[in-house]
Amino acid sequence: MAIGRPVDVAAEIPEATRRHRWLAAVGEFCRKRPLGALGAAVVVVNILVGIGANVIAPYDPLATDYGAMLARPSVTHWLGTDAFGRDVLSRIIYGSRTAMLVGFACAFLGATIGAVIGVASAYFAGKVDLLVQRVMDIFLAFPLIILALAVVSILGTGIGNVIVAIAIPMIPRAALVSRSSALAIREMPYVDAARAAGFRHRRIILRHMLPNVMAPYLIMLTAYLGQAILAEASLTFLGLGVSEPTAAWGLMLRGAAVQFAESAPWMAIFPGLAISLAVFAFNLFGDSLRDALDPRLRAQ
């Protein structure tokens, strides 16, 4: 019996209808989950601020002004200056670029690699699944920040290494969630059909199974964004992340900010708020997205 070419249902729907459906879904999300929408708005603002930092920031974030060291918030410097006379607001604005870059890169890498491993593990099952899961269990035994600390101490500091260091602990978490979803998908007739059609394992995993774990994948992605931003700030605060004079929120909380915490509290308060707000927004958005995409929660 010949198997016909699968029909791409999405391609058959007119463009205008698709856009309308998408807008309706966004509208419904905003109406039903206002907190999630608020989180999403903050996330979008963060992204836009990061992208347009060089247009928005009133000052060069690296430019020192020794005549304005530790200046209080004022009309000139809305959020004050740091110990080198650098404008705190400008550094926060540029810092969002660092945070978003690290956050998205880590979350994307961690969730994607984890999803591929998880789905592959479920697909192959048996000894492969057993082995992969035990390895993941080993990694899962370490809290995210501890494992990231260990990795960064091996690889060294710098944005690239920090991204790898934070992404690695995310992989087993993503693998675990993806695997549990993929276990059910593995038993679906279309997977059997693909196997019977003689498709390679790689194709079955990547083209037939992976797209069907997209909902948990998106949830993990948004949840990991907040975690990654927090982990980057923590590593940088500990001196293991990005280095001065790069504008980064975690970096703004260490060094002189600690020394002058009593006399120039704005140095620590505003970057701290930026971190809290970003992480809170990502978590709100992630939670709401989970609720929206999870059929059981949606039913409730």
Binding site: L70, A83, F84, G158, T246, G255, F260
Partner: protein, 543 residues
């Protein structure tokens, strides 16, 4: 962007400055009173030590983390006068007196009688000779950290129990200073004869205090030595050195009066915080610090093999503005050359200004820097890595300042703030382009301060990786000049070649030592070195 309209003073409340000033005035008044005040006996001095050493052997280590807790247990042949703020005046410790032969090649020391080790045995010239033999000519498997400072010594003799003779290959202007090293503890000859490594894991000296215990990661303790040779001393019953690695915890310990002092130094903000908390109960002592951060340029990497590029890096620095600004937030202050400003061999400011990067006309210097970079073929926006040690103070603020200064001549330095061990290994192996390097001595002395800058192969820590025969000759000339004026001339020539003509290295700013301590602590004077004045024999507690 430097166009800032509001020019506030740093946000340190004015009353803190007033309080600090009052404390310093009180200190000065107190120092006069110290001389008249009768020392009080009793009490335990509690101080904080920020880190721990790898071994207990002073000859092998180079860290204050060993000297601070263990110097009270040991004696040295000579020492720096504990009342001298310059830390350059040498007095006898075990040596009662000494003479120098006319040719400057024979030094004869008379050793005090009646000095005993803590095990009850007598300390004689035999012990001094054995200790110095270990320092100057150690066996192959024994590490002597400062061996290179004693290359002039040809032989050490102990003709009788109270005489030690040092014979030199050539006259050495710095020998007396070098023999006052706070690390050159006198060990027992019999123990060394049995095991040269014994002192790496054991403590037994002849100092004012007897070692009690060291609980790793927690504290060191010592108690009064009742048989100390200097009758009537020490005044304290004992001491306890608390190991507190975290900077904030160190400040908290002094603020909460859990510790009387931390002898290494605090930052200006930490000083202000302690002064604010304790008011008249604290005394602040400050001094230029014989430590400096240097800009090391790897001569084996382009474009730093070209002296025009190296000169450009130093010309870009506005040291005077840097001094004004950084001294408010970091432990750096004075603008100096190769010697601590104000000390005998230091270059006067007017002469210093003639060196590259020391002019007050920064715009002209930076224009010159840009011209040199262009001539050397270094393009605008040239990027390079600045390797730095991940010790926040003062390495990080100085590096931020450097990166900013170089941006002003079109250079983009990428700050690599790396772990100390890797930083040291990278510098040693030449695995860097430009790096923040450091130079620290236990005394302000040209031999000690300049040794590092001799050619690779002669100096073990010339990380610039250059060979400069002229510089080596100048080092030898100053080292052998017994006349102070002649020596000064050679030191100036050395400085000009090092920092200007060849620009092998660039000096940043001299460190500044700030010690806020309990006003109860008396009889202790700050010096430019955090390695000296830790024997505590003259220290006492007023209540």
């Amino acid at each position: 962007m430097t166009d800032v309209r509001r020019r506030d003073a740093p946000g340190v409340p004015r009353h803190l400055f007033v309080l600090a000033a009052v404390s310093i005035v009180m200190l000065l008044a107190g120092r006069g009173a110290d001389a008249q005040e009768r020392p009080r006996y009793g009490g335990e001095l509690v101080y904080v030590v920020p880190t721990e050493p790898a071994s207990y052997d002073g000859h092998r280590e180079g860290t204050f983390a060993l000297v601070h807790p263990l110097a009270p247990v040991y004696s040295t042949l000579l020492r720096f006068d504990p009342t001298d703020r310059t830390g350059t005046k040498v007095v006898g410790d075990l040596a009662e007196s000494w003479t120098v032969a006319k040719d400057g090649r024979t030094y004869t020391f008379k050793i005090r009688r009646g000095v005993r080790f803590h095990d009850g045995s007598d300390l004689t010239s035999k012990d001094v000779k054995a200790s110095y033999d270990k320092i100057v000519n150690p066996p192959a498997d024994v590490i002597s950290f400062r061996k290179g400072q004693y290359t002039a010594i040809e032989a050490i003799e102990a003709p009788d129990p109270t005489t030690v003779i040092f014979r030199l290959k050539w006259p050495a202007a710095s020998l007396i200073t070098a023999l006052a090293s706070p690390f050159n503890w006198i060990y027992k000859a019999d123990i060394l004869a049995k095991d040269m490594h014994w002192y790496e894991t054991h403590v037994m000296g002849s100092g004012a205090f007897v070692f009690v215990e060291h609980v790793k990661g927690a504290y060191w303790a010592g108690k009064k030595n009742p048989s100390y040779w200097d009758k009537g001393k020490p005044y304290l019953d004992g001491y306890r050195a608390l190991v507190v690695k975290d900077g904030n915890a160190q400040v908290a310990a002094v603020r909460a009066e859990r510790a009387h002092v931390q002898f290494r130094g605090f930052t200006p903000a930490e000083r202000d915080s302690i002064v604010q908390a304790l008011g008249p109960k604290v005394t602040v002592q400050e001094s230029p610090w014989d430590c400096v951060l240097l800009v090391g340029m790897n001569h084996e990497k382009k474009p730093w093999d070209d002296k025009r590029a190296r000169r450009a890096l130093t010309l870009a620095l506005d040291r005077y503005q840097g001094s004004q600004a950084l001294s408010k937030i970091a432990i750096v202050k004075s603008v100096g050359g190769v010697q601590v400003p104000g000390t005998p061999f230091a270059t006067p400011p007017a002469e210093l200004e003639k060196l590259a990067g020391y002019s007050h006309d920064t715009a002209k210097s930076r224009a010159e820097a840009r011209r040199l970079l262009k001539e050397a073929g270094v393009p605008e926006g040239f990027a390079f890595s600045l390797k730095n040690r991940n010790v926040p103070m003062p390495y990080e603020p100085v590096a931020i300042w450097l990166v900013d200064q170089w941006r002003r001549v079109g250079l983009q330095a990428r700050h690599d703030f790396i772990e100390s061990t890797k930083w040291e290994a990278d510098l040693r192996e030449g695995n860097y382009e430009v790096a923040v390097d450091t130079q620290c001595s236990y005394a302000v002395d040209p031999d000690l301060d300049l040794y590092k800058f001799q050619s690779m192969g002669i100096s073990g820590n010339n990380y610039g990786r250059y060979v400069d025969q002229t510089l080596d000759d100048l080092y030898q000339k100053q080292s052998r000049a017994l006349d102070a004026e002649e020596r000064k001339k050679w030191v100036r020539d050395f400085e000009r070649r090092l920092l200007d003509e060849e620009a092998h290295y660039a000096y940043t700013l001299q460190w500044h030592r700030i010690i806020p301590h309990s006003a109860k602590l008396r009889g202790w004077t700050i010096t430019p070195s955090h390695f000296v004045n830790n024997q505590l024999d003259g220290v006492w507690l007023s209540e």
